[in-house]
Point group: C2
Chain length 149, copies 2
């Protein structure tokens, strides 16, 4: 869209779609985050998995897949790797022998904590474009939108 002012035609930038804004920010964030995770030998989904398990062990792989919004069939190969690397442990649930519980090993906890520390530092730099009081407000708003009742 353009508008004529003082005999010249200049482009007017309208409000962007929410999706466009978030996509831009996500790309910035991912571009900064990928090398950090790579340095810790983790993929994005591996980190998401460790994060979920750090907060709460999984009662089954299916529950874990749902918790992080990942496909249960793809989770298998991912857990295979994490188990092979000694970051997680899978154990049959005695109560329901179909299910496997998943939890972090001490190495898994340490790896997650180390990666998270680096990511938090990066986030602080990224948010430095905003005044300090807005940073907390933003986090609160995003949390509300991410977890609708």
């Amino acid at each position: 869209m353009c508008v004529s002012i003082c005999h010249s035609t200049i482009p007017v930038v309208e409000d962007e779609d929410l999706g466009a804004l978030l996509a831009r920010i996500m790309r910035r964030l991912m571009d900064a985050e990928h090398p950090l995770l790579r340095a810790h030998g983790l993929s994005m989904w591996a980190y998401a998995t460790l994060t979920s398990l750090a907060e709460q062990p999984a009662t089954s792989q299916l529950a874990l897949a749902k918790a992080i919004g990942y496909d249960k069939t793809r989770l298998i190969a991912l857990l295979d790797e994490l188990e092979h690397d000694g970051l997680i442990v899978r154990e049959r649930d005695p109560a329901d022998r179909r299910a496997q519980t998943v939890r972090l090993t001490p190495e898994g906890e340490a790896r997650h904590a180390a990666a998270k520390a680096d990511i938090r530092k990066m986030e602080i730099e990224l948010l430095a474009d905003l005044p300090p009081d807005e940073q907390g407000a933003l986090r609160a708003m995003l949390t509300k939108l991410a977890h609708p009742e």
Copy 2:
């Protein structure tokens, strides 16, 4: 992470990573947006393309690819479709006959406007989880983060 309070152990939910929050919101947004776009016969990238062209015609396909953050090789098939559907026009630049300019047709403008109207309505519903004064603040903050100087 857990903490013991009054002889019981309850999980403590720490602040989520910014990436996790944004990913959740993005998924919500995309889940709502996909059916709307499909109703208008547009893919996500097709909509992004129309949005960019609605604001400003492209001096070349390469410039368009960069503007929307899409791969120039994949853009070609997308533009082929949009052109076939009569939504855009490609024209050789007389000044540089290697380049092709890209602009919307009237049909393209109409299709974009119709899709955008639906998407804006959806965004308003999604943001209704926030008090009105926070909605504007959020948009301002996201715009700042999406366009760093």
